[in-house]
């Protein structure tokens, strides 16, 4: 059968930001879905969002409530969400309570009642909230599995997209015959990680289309459920081919060390101990981009955007004007219970909004601290996904990372993430002539030449200033405790080291 002969399955918007991406574009029309999870995991809210996104007066939604939560209280709370449009009641959305039928009769009568209402209203969407409570009534003539099967057959025939909501614990997932009937199975989880709550969503099953596998974090806000795909909403994007364009730091000597600047689309790591000027360098990088017409994003975790901009002002860099002009966004990402996916969503939204070409993450340590404890274990893996996704769309990322100063080692990062970065610039203190001075060296530049030189620099009111020539009078500079060598003199131009082929 050719592709032209295949039936077209239309997709309906889920009404949940981020979820369309996860389910593969939208929910299959006429599908029979189960939303399962523990109480308080957001099942009802998710179903409401779908209902409000799809119900029309011509093809309304029927929302059957059974036992459990009072419908009046449910509406009292649900109307607080911004998606809740009261004008849709009752013409587009009708709430029907079946508790009396459940209490007085059996599941057969419940099915009969649903059938009657569906035939009367010809709905596009049907929700039964919560079908699980019905099975708790003993001695029904019809068991739950049979009820679900007959309901699924009936509603599919009536061209209704259906959600059944049920409270299920994790261990009930296996070998549950009810789930075999469903076309889609959405599992919502909520776990406490130390003092943080982590919510995750999994599409365990979705017939007819590819969904993004794995656990996706989600959050419940005033706008309802918001899901954050593990693919960061970038499945529709094509990776940009590697670019040979160089991005300047606005520090001529450093650009020379980098053989003209950072390669566009690279991930750069600036590593150094406290006070070595990592943030200053990052600020200069972003400011130079703006000066050259390349919008930028700064993700800060340890200070507020205003403080960040004020610090830039003290270096003679104006970050206020580009913010007003929409050329720069300084994102302060709320600490303590973030997921990487959520952070990525904020960054990507900002990147897309202003067409950002440069991104500064200041710092990775702050980023890690801002995450919920449960996500910290996956920090490296999350960083990998994030960097791969962002550089793939042509964004050049500069991340700062604090490393403990050691006088026996020369570490690049405490996260063992150097493999994630294309370029590494290492800053460190050295003890020279009774002074604590600073040196800089380009450790790595994937796919390009870079200087081997160790250069001394200072942080002045003009930012990072690289001093004259490479240091040739000392040996053991990277140990931090160099010794004066017999060789004197210096080289004006940085000598370039040949890097390896640029990654694709």
């Amino acid at each position: 059968m050719s592709t032209q002969d295949k039936v077209t399955i239309h997709q309906l918007p889920t009404g949940v930001p981020g979820l369309d991406e996860i389910v593969g574009g939208g929910l299959p029309e006429f599908s029979f879905n189960i939303i399962a999870g523990a109480p308080g995991s957001g099942k009802t809210t998710l179903a409401h969002q779908f209902v409000f996104a799809n119900a029309t007066p011509e093809r309304p939604a029927l929302y059957f409530t059974v036992l459990g939560e009072s419908a009046i209280k449910m509406l009292r709370y649900q109307q607080q969400y911004s998606f809740f449009d009261p004008a849709k009641l009752p013409d587009s959305i009708r709430f029907i309570n079946l508790s009396q039928v459940v209490l007085e009769k059996d599941l057969g009568a419940v099915l009969e009642e649903i059938t009657k209402e569906v035939e009367k209203a010809n709905p596009a969407v049907v929700v039964v909230d919560s079908f699980r409570t019905m099975v708790r009534k003993p001695a029904s003539d019809m068991d739950l599995q049979s009820f679900i099967q007959r309901l699924a057959l009936f509603l599919a025939s009536w061209q209704a997209t259906t959600f059944l909501i049920g409270e299920y614990a994790e261990d009930e997932l296996r070998d549950n015959p009810i789930f075999t009937v469903a076309d889609g199975l959405f599992w919502l989880r909520q776990t406490a990680e130390r003092n943080s709550i982590v919510r995750k969503l999994q599409i365990i099953k979705l017939r007819g289309q590819d969904s993004v596998p794995g656990l996706h974090t989600f959050r419940i806000t005033d706008a309802g459920v918001q899901a954050f795909s593990r693919t960061f909403g970038l499945t529709a994007y094509k990776r940009n081919p590697p670019s040979n364009r160089r991005l300047s730091f606005g520090i001529p000597e450093l650009d020379k060390m980098l053989d003209g600047g950072v390669r566009e689309g690279d991930s750069v790591l600036v590593a150094g101990s406290s006070g070595t000027g990592k943030s200053v360098l990052a600020t200069q990088f972003i400011a130079e981009g703006i000066r050259r017409g390349e919008p930028g994003i700064v993700a800060v975790f340890e200070e507020r955007p205003q403080a960040y901009a004020e610090r830039a002002t003290s270096l003679g860099l104006d970050l206020d004007t580009p913010q007003k002009d929409g050329k720069l966004e300084i994102l302060y990402l709320r600490p303590l219970d973030l997921s990487v996916d959520e952070t990525m969503h904020s960054i990507l939204s900002a990147v897309q909004k202003i067409g950002a070409k440069r991104l500064v993450i200041d710092s990775l340590a702050g980023f890690e601290m801002a995450l919920s404890p449960g996500f910290r274990a996956d920090f490296r893996e999350s960083l990998y996904r994030m960097i791969f996704a962002l550089t793939g769309i042509g964004v050049t990322i500069l991340s700062t990372v604090e490393v403990d100063e050691s006088f026996t080692e020369f570490p690049f990062s405490t996260y063992s993430i150097s493999f994630l970065t294309d370029d590494i610039i290492r800053l460190r203190y050295v003890s020279i002539d009774g002074q604590l001075r600073k040196i800089m060296v380009v450790i790595k530049m994937r796919g390009g030449n870079h200087a081997k030189d160790i250069r001394e620099y200072e942080i002045t009111s003009a930012g990072v200033v690289i001093l004259g020539k490479r240091l040739t009078d000392y040996q053991g500079l990277i140990s931090g405790i160099p010794v004066r060598s017999d060789q004197h003199g210096s080289t004006e131009e940085p000598s370039l080291d040949t890097g390896i082929e640029h990654k694709t």
């Binding site: 419908a71 009046i72 509406l75 009261p86 309570n97 508790s99």
Partner: protein, 153 residues
Amino acid sequence: MKTPLETRDLAHRLLTYEAVDSKTSEPVESVAIRVYEKLRQCICEFGGVASFQPLAFRALTQAKAEAPGLWAVQIAADGSLQGLGEFDSQPGEFEPQLGSYKDQTSEGGVVLVARILGLLLIFLGETLTFSLLRTAWPGAALDDRNSGHGRKA
């Protein structure tokens, strides 16, 4: 505590609308009972008896304190009213200065309906409450807020 004028006004309008409507149908129940029944049906439909019955019971308790004529009235398990002998078939003459009816029996019906409406407004808010009322009284103009009390009689 007396019923707020706005909900009394709304209750009065529902009773008046129902009384006018009854001229074209067979009026076998009192106007207040029929208003109550319509409220019961539409609330039970979306919220079930389990939602309506406690709401009605609470409203009746409040109403009894304000309208002694309701002393014999009770709420059955299915949410229906019992002991309704005191109600007139038509609402009595409304006294705008007092914001109430001249005779006590009509006053009781208005107060009970007003109390139910008041609880709906508290729990569901104005938009959803009026949406609910429009289901029960599709032709009635209920939420015109240009009157002196916020809603036109």
